[in-house]
Structure formats: C-alpha cells, structure tokens
C-alpha cells in the first residue's frame, strides 16, 4: 500500500470510525439487547482511537517521518459560489498532542462506565453511542483545518453532550436543556464569527488565516469566537450550565465532557484563535480576557466553598480552574501560554479523577450530599488516595502537577507586568492576587470535601460500604499517578508535549526556579526522618487504640459528626458577602435566568397582543394602515 495514503487513512478512521459506530448505536433501540454489544464496541473503538492518536503524535514527533506526512489532506471538496468547502484533515503539533490525551480520556471513561451503573442503565445504547460521537467529534475538531467543518464536529460534540446529560435521570432534562440552550447560543456566535472571518480574509482554512485585530470587524469576530470558546469551557459569565449539569448528569459524563474533553477542545480553540488566527495588538482585548480569567477564578471558587453536593462543587471548581487558562493566554507571554496549555492538561487530568472518584463514592453510598457522608477513607482507601492526590494537585500543592502549571501562569503574569506596557500589564498585581488567592480558596474547598467525605467520622449507616470494582478503580488510579508524574517530571512533559505544540524554544520560557525532583527527594528524606522518630516512639511504647476523647463524658451518641459543609459559613455570613451569596443562591447572576426572564416578558407582551378579540385586531390593523399611509404617502 502506498505509504502516503496510510496516514490520511489513519486520520479518516480516527474521525469517522467512532462517528459511524456512534450513529449505529444511537439508532439501535434500547430494547434491542445484544449481550454487552454496546460496551465491547465502545471499548474496542475507544482503545483503537487511542492507539491511532498515539501513532499520529509519535509520527509527528519523528523527524524522518515528518516529511512524508502531507501538510493537509483534503477528503472532499465542494464549491458553492465562492465559498469553498474543503474537509482538510491535518495533524498540527498542538492538535496531535491534545488528540492523544482526549482519546486517552475517552478510553478511561469508557472503562469506568463499564461498571458504573447509574440511571443510564435503561438507555445503555444511547449512552455509549453518544460517547462514541463525542470521541469522533473531538477527533474531528482537533484534526480539521477548515473552520466550517470544525464547527460541524463542534456541533456533534454539543449534541452528544445534550444526549449524555439526559441519561442522568431525574432533573437531568432541565440541566440538559439549559446546557443546550447556552452552548447553542454560543455556537451561533461561533458561526457568526466564522462568517465574519470568511468575509474579512476570504478563506476558511485555519492555517491561512491571519487577521490583525485592529479594525472593528475582526475585533467583533474575535469576540464572537472567544464567546464560543469560553462558554463551552465554562468561564464566567456564561458558566451556569455547568453546575446545573454537574448536579444531575451522571459523573462519567461530567468527567468526560466538561471536565476533560470540553476543556481540552475549548482551550485548543482559544489558543488557535488568539495565537494563530488573530494578531492581538489591542490592549483592550487582553484586558477583557484577563478580567474574565481573574473573575472566573475568584467568583467560582467563592461559590464552590459553600456547596453541599460534591458534584456541584466540583463543577464550580472546574469553572474556577478555567480562569487560570484564560489568564495565562491573556498574558501573551510564552511562559503564560505554555502554563495555560499545561494547566488545561493538568486540570483535565485532576478534574476527571475527582469526578470519577466522586462517582465511585456516589455509587458505593448512594448519595453525593456531603452532609450525609463521612469517614469513607477507611472503607475506600484507594478511591480516597486518588481523590486526595487529585485534590492536592488542583489546589496547587507542590510537587503535584497543578502546582507547576499555576506557577507558570504566575510567572507569565509577572513577566507581563515587567515587560509589557499595555493596560492589562499595568494591572498585573490584581491578576496575580486573584490567581494566588484563588488557589487558597481551591485548597479550602478541597479540604472541605476531603473532610466531609473521606475523613471525619463514618455515619453508622455506611458500616458495610465496600470499595468499588476494578474497572472503576483503574482509571482513577491511572489519572492520580499521572498527577504525580506530570508534577515531578514536569520538564520532560513540557519538552515532549507543550513546547513543540506551541513552537516555544525549550529553556527560554520559564524564568523562575522549581527543582521538582530535588524537592521531591528532600520531602521523601524528610518523611523517612519522621518515620525514624515514629519508630523510636513505637519501640519505646506500643500503640493503643482508644475511643475518641469526649472530655470525660460517657457518650452513647456515636454520631458526633461535624460535617465540613458548614466550614465556610463564616465567609458566607460576612457583611457584604452575605448579600452576594444570597443573590447567587436565587440565581440573580445567572444570565440564563435573566435571559429567560426577558424572553418571558417578550412572549407575555406578544400574548397580550394576540388576545383573539376581533375588535382589538381591527384596531391594530387600522392603526398600522394609518401609520403606513402617513409614512409612505407623506401626508403631513
């Protein structure tokens, strides 16, 4: 077989194999129960796409094969007037690297779904079909080099997100509708933005577009594309679909889309829009991006600390972390951008791990309400360990991976402050404060979950809770170990994946100091030293297990649980913040609710007009005729 045809064939199968299988599964009635057909098909195809994605990435890395790969491979061409539709598939370095991780997430989630039987058990074919559609659609987004086809794949992912959220049972229809409405609206903005780009540059091929964002039209186009990217990523103020679906959708769905693949795709879009398609010279635009980033970090984290449902809290956490990526991109420095992309990857890993372990807890205990949980660390040690590592990583505790990328974003902010002169650069202390303080808030809500789910005391009704089965444990542990590996060996990760993808010369970006390997070994030595002290203590006297000290009272009440859900009441009842929290609780800051209110008022007005009373209509008609007469005939 011709070698040059091999690679395009890989692209094609990567995109269309999952899509095809997904459609087949989707239209297979749920009543048709071929024994584990959907599962095995999904597992096979997601495994296959992962292997293919690795292949594409490795081929792109090798210098010997790079020349063989065609730059763009055109699948089909349609010309309508002067609009040229061309399904160009190509593996750009950034796309190939994200593709590999996206497919990896797809495989892990499929593995996790095998045993996580939620309410979607009745709609199993639909569920797996939608997962395959997501995998195929995201492969299409990452490989296509044509904006219109990118949009089509983008829509496939949106639709499958809708389908996946609805499999969550009670309440999920509302969440799915809300998500679909908000994302759909942002996709309309995307389409409009694409059209503007086409009008202005005459082409829709991404690699050919280079617009200077100086005149009005490109700036509007830029803002529209940005809206599309940040809505799906879940940045403020268009984030409210995420907590709603976090509460009702199955966790595997939350882990797959909003936590992992959605993040990867949106930040990918933001990077190609900001770095590739537009030349940003305008200070105002980077101020907008930076404000969105900083506000997202703080507001979402402040909201997260008062949540009671783990999944909803994690959804807010996912929103909050998007702020770091947006902020990193807004800095416009190499280290900030690399930090943003690295944080995207790290956060996808941690957040996926957090959602999945929260799902394991939910499956084992039947609830995701933190008021009812506690002490599960003794019953589910592996899930706890994975959750703990991922939570520490998300809070930016060294030496885990979340720390490194946040640290890079901070450097980007500082570098912007010292080297640039725009108005965004002058405000750098604000951005830095938001980012670092946001990380303290992240630690606060991580501690809250860890305390009220895994530590604290075990409620008596969870005495016989068991660790979840192997297919649910493996993905979680894989992700947790990635958190550690990417944190300790961050230089390698940056040099293999991030720098080539962004065209950054290794060694030029980072200017801070963080010797992760030395620090980790010193921490290990410190722990060993502590162990020696502990051993000496153990040799001197032995350990005795005692009941909890209740100040000498003889207590028969075995509950004595202080749940973590009330930890931050001090913050939410603080003067000034109290009113904000109350408004947030009622949904006053939710654009979806406010938009809904405007829409309702409009339809109310129309209903009032269409009362069905003939004299009323006649009055309107007469009035209208009079107006026309006056205007057209210029009687006055």
């Amino acid at each position: 077989m011709d070698k040059t045809l091999l690679i395009p064939l890989t692209y094609l199968s990567l995109v269309f194999l999952p899509l095809l299988a997904g459609f087949v599964l989707l239209f297979l009635p749920n009543r048709v129960k071929i024994k584990s057909f959907g599962r095995s098909l999904t597992l096979t195809i997601s495994g296959l796409t992962f292997v293919l994605a690795i292949l594409i990435f490795v081929l792109g890395q090798c210098k010997s094969t790079r020349s063989v790969i065609p730059v763009d491979w055109s699948v089909l061409q349609i010309e309508i007037g002067n609009l040229k539709l061309d399904l160009l598939l190509s593996a750009k370095p950034l796309g190939a690297f994200i593709l590999m991780f996206a497919m990896g997430f797809g495989l892990l989630i499929t593995l996790y779904s095998l045993k996580s039987i939620g309410p979607m058990a009745k709609r199993v074919n639909e569920y797996y079909g939608a997962i395959l559609l997501t995998i195929g659609g995201s492969a299409g987004i990452l490989l296509s080099n044509h904006l219109l086809f990118l949009l089509i794949f983008w829509e496939i992912v949106t639709v499958s997100l809708y389908l996946l959220i609805t499999t969550g049972g009670k309440g999920s229809n509302f969440a799915a509708t809300k998500s679909f409405a908000m994302i759909g609206a942002s996709d309309a903005a995307f389409l409009l933005g694409i059209m503007m780009v086409w009008v202005h540059s005459g082409t829709l091929v991404i690699s050919d577009i280079s617009l200077a964002a100086t005149s009005t039209l490109p700036i509007i186009a830029f803002l529209l594309l940005m809206t599309a990217a940040i809505t799906k990523a879940g940045a403020l103020p268009l984030h409210t679909w995420l907590p709603a679906s976090g509460e009702y959708a199955p966790v595997s769905v939350m882990a797959l889309l909003p936590a992992a693949i959605d993040k990867l795709l949106r930040i990918y879009l933001l990077v190609i829009v900001v770095r590739g398609m537009f030349e940003l010279n305008s200070g105002a635009l980077s101020v907008i991006l930076a404000v969105i980033g900083a506000a997202t970090i703080i507001i979402a984290a402040m909201t997260a600390i008062v949540q009671h449902n783990i999944k909803k809290l994690l959804a807010y956490s996912a929103i909050s972390q998007v702020g770091y990526m947006v902020l990193g991109i807004a800095t416009g420095t190499a280290v900030g951008l690399a930090g943003a992309v690295f944080h995207m990857l790290n956060n996808a890993i941690c957040k996926c791990c957090l959602f999945l372990s929260a799902g394991s807890v939910e499956q084992a205990t039947g609830t995701a309400d933190m008021d009812k949980l506690g002490g599960l660390g003794r019953k589910m040690p592996l899930t706890f360990a994975a959750f703990f590592i991922a939570a520490m990583s998300v809070s930016g505790i060294p030496p885990f991976n979340g720390f490194v990328s946040k640290w890079m974003v901070y450097q980007g902010i500082i570098q912007m402050g010292t080297e640039q002169t725009g108005s965004a650069a002058k405000l750098w202390p604000v951005w830095l404060l938001a980012a670092v303080f946001g990380s303290a808030l992240t630690l606060a809500y991580s501690v809250k979950i860890i305390h009220s789910v895994f530590l604290s005391r075990l409620p008596s009704n969870f005495g016989d809770v068991k660790e979840v089965s192997l297919p649910m444990r493996v993905p979680v542990l894989v992700l947790a170990s990635l958190c550690v590996l990417f944190g300790v060996f961050y230089r390698q990760v940056l040099e293999w994946f991030i720098y080539p993808a962004l065209n950054i010369e290794p060694g030029t970006a980072i200017f801070g100091t963080w010797d992760s390997i030395l620090a980790t070994s010193l921490i290990l030595i410190g722990i060993a030293l502590g162990l020696v002290i502990l051993l000496v203590g153990l040799l001197a006297r032995k350990v005795r297990e005692v009941p909890t000290w209740t100040c000498g009272e003889v207590q028969t009440n075995e509950q004595m649980i202080i749940p973590g859900t009330h930890f931050y009441k001090t913050v939410s009842s603080m003067g000034g913040l109290k009113q904000l929290y109350a408004g947030q609780e009622k949904g006053h800051f939710d654009l979806y609710n406010q938009g809904g209110r405007v829409g309702l008022a409009l339809t109310e007005f129309l209903r009032w007009l269409h009362s069905g009373v003939l004299p009323m209509y006649l009055t309107w008609v007469t009035l209208g005729l009079l107006v026309i007469l006056f205007v057209v005939c210029k009687i006055w």
């Binding site: 002490g375 660390g377 003794r378 930016g396 060294p398 640290w407 901070y410 450097q411 500082i414 402050g417 010292t418 202390p429 404060l433 670092v436 303080f437 303290a440 630690l443 606060a444 501690v447 809250k448 860890i450 305390h451 530590l455 604290s456 005391r457 075990l458 200017f511 801070g512 100091t513 963080w514 010797d515 030395l518 620090a519 010193l522 921490i523 290990l524 030595i525 410190g526 722990i527 030293l529 502590g530 162990l531 002290i533 502990l534 203590g537 001197a540 032995k542 350990v543 005795r544 297990e545 005692v546 909890t548 000290w549 649980i561 202080i562 973590g564 009330h566 930890f567 913050v571 603080m574």
Partner: protein
C-alpha cells in the same frame, strides 16, 4: 560552594535546623516568662519535653483514618524541613536553590495543610472544629501575604529569585515597611501564636487540631512548630530585610529581633474570634496593602526609592 563544604552543609543542615528550632522555642518561653515576671525554663527544656513525649504511648482513635492520622505529622515535618533547608542554602550560598518566592509561599502552606488533614483524620468533633478554624485562618492570611509579596516583587523589579531578593532591602521604604508589618502578622497567625491561636485554643477546644495526638506523634508536631519558629522569621528576613547582610551576626540579630517581636505580640494580646481574624486579614490588612502596592508602583514609576 566547594564539594567538602557542600557535604558539610548536607550533614549539618537537618540537625542544625532542628537545634535552632529548639533554641528558638526556648527563646519564646524565656521571653514570655520575662514578660510575665517569671524566671523561665533552662535552655534544654524544649529538648527534655520532646524526649519525654517520645517515651509516652501513642494513642490512636478507633474511628480515625489511621494512615492519614499517622502520616500527617511526617508530611508536615518533611514540608517544613524542605522549606528551611531551601532558605538556609539560599542564605549561605546566595544562589537560587529548589524554588523561588512563589514556590516558597506554597511550601509554607504544607505544615498547615498537614495539620488540617491530621486533625480532620482524628475523627474528634473538637478537632473538626479546629480543622475548620485552621483552614479559615490559612484562607484569611494567604490574601495579605500574597499582597505583601507582590509589594516585594514590585520593589525588586519583577524579581522571583529569593537569592536576588535578599540582595535588596524592600523594608527600607514606606510600602515595604507596611508589607513587612502585615507579613509579620501573617507569620504570627501561621505559627498559631496568640492572638491567632484560634485553631488550637487550649481553653475552649482543648488543643483543637492536636487534641487526639500523643506520644511520638505529638513530639513530631512540637518539632514542626519549633522548626517553624526559625524558618518563618528567616523567610521574612530573606524577603524583606535583605537577608544575612552585612554579616552573620547582623542576620542572626534580625532573626532574633523578629522572633522577639512575635513573642511580644503574643504576650500582650487576647485571642480573637475566627470571624474577627478573617475580617482583620481580608479587610484591614488588605486595604493597607492595596495602599502599599499603589505607593510602590508610584515609587517605581517616579523613581522614588523610599515610597
């Protein structure tokens, strides 16, 4: 640093930090005693206390997540040792080592985090209240601390490298002084000294976070607190007061000076409530530091060093 010196450093540094820490905790007790017109303990008293704790039996609550309960003090010790090794190395060799100022801020949080996890794992309601208070305390002083370091970064021209920051003395200006004073209060809270001993609160929570700890595990916590007594003032000296310049004695003088200042605040104030502490750090310290940042930026812009 030459090879033999390097080897000497690695041999001396860990016992050295611990010994320094014990001496510092003796200073705390002695100065407190002097303030209260008492004689105070002998120099080796902190060591005797640790030795005595080592010989006591270790009690572990049945309900606890025992692995975390036992591992938390070890992680805390590792974190604070790493932090102080880093600072001593930077002080001695005057080159960057392990991490920059941002890394230092994060490493500083490790002992507090370990304390939070250990107390949360102990399954005691008193400890749970302590956990909540400690976490809120961390949240509240983190904000002014970051602002204070932003002042330093502005003053030193975007410098992240701790060794380079130690070459300058940001505290010799209005904004730098303001930042230093607020950072001092943050360190007070980080050490769990009165008026910010809210998480331990012996009189109301019965040692709160440390309630279930005993024997060797409690000894490790005491060691961590002792090492922090040197490491945190050393960090302040490095960042704000120009490190160990011009000579060793000046450096040690600054270190002991900060320690005595902390002890005096400790002995002349009553404990505040957690909501008062949060308000104090977020609003009053926050506003003071916002003013400091504006001053520092103006100073930088107009080239006026003392602003």
């Amino acid at each position: 640093m030459s090879v033999p010196l390097n080897i000497l450093f690695w041999i001396v540094v860990i016992p050295g930090t611990v010994v320094f820490g014990l001496v510092a905790s003796w200073i705390v007790r002695k100065v407190s005693a002097l303030v209260q017109w008492r004689v105070g303990p002998p120099l080796c008293q902190p060591l005797y206390d640790i030795m005595k704790l080592m010989g006591k039996e270790i009690l572990v609550p049945q309900e606890a997540q025992q692995t975390v309960f036992m591992a938390a003090p070890l992680v805390g010790l590792a974190g604070i040792l790493l932090f102080s090794i880093m600072l001593w190395r930077i002080t001695i060799t005057e080159t960057a080592f392990v991490g920059d100022i941002i890394v230092a801020i994060y490493l500083m949080a490790l002992p507090s985090l370990a304390l939070i996890l250990g107390s949360s794992a102990s399954a005691s309601p008193h400890a749970a209240l302590g956990t909540s208070r400690e976490m809120k305390l961390v949240m509240s002083y983190e904000l002014p601390l970051v602002l204070a370091f932003i002042v330093v970064i502005i003053k030193t021209g975007g410098q992240l490298n701790l060794a380079a920051i130690a070459q300058q003395t940001p505290a010799l200006s209005i904004s730098g002084m303001l930042a230093f004073l607020v950072a001092l209060l943050c360190v007070q809270a980080k050490l769990g000294f009165v008026p910010f001993d809210i998480a331990e609160a012996e009189t109301e929570l019965g040692s709160g976070v440390l309630m279930e700890y005993s024997g060797a595990l409690l000894a490790v916590w005491k060691l961590i607190q002792a090492v922090m007594l040197v490491a945190l003032p050393l960090f302040l000296v490095t960042v704000f007061l120009g490190g160990f310049r011009p000579n060793l004695w000046a450096g040690l003088g600054k270190l002991v000076g900060i320690l005595v200042l902390l002890i005096l605040i400790k002995n002349t104030n009553p404990r505040v409530r957690i909501d008062q502490a949060m308000k104090f750090f977020w609003f009053y310290c926050g506003i003071a530091l916002a003013a400091a940042i504006i001053l520092a930026i103006i100073g930088n812009y107009c080239g006026v060093g003392w602003l």
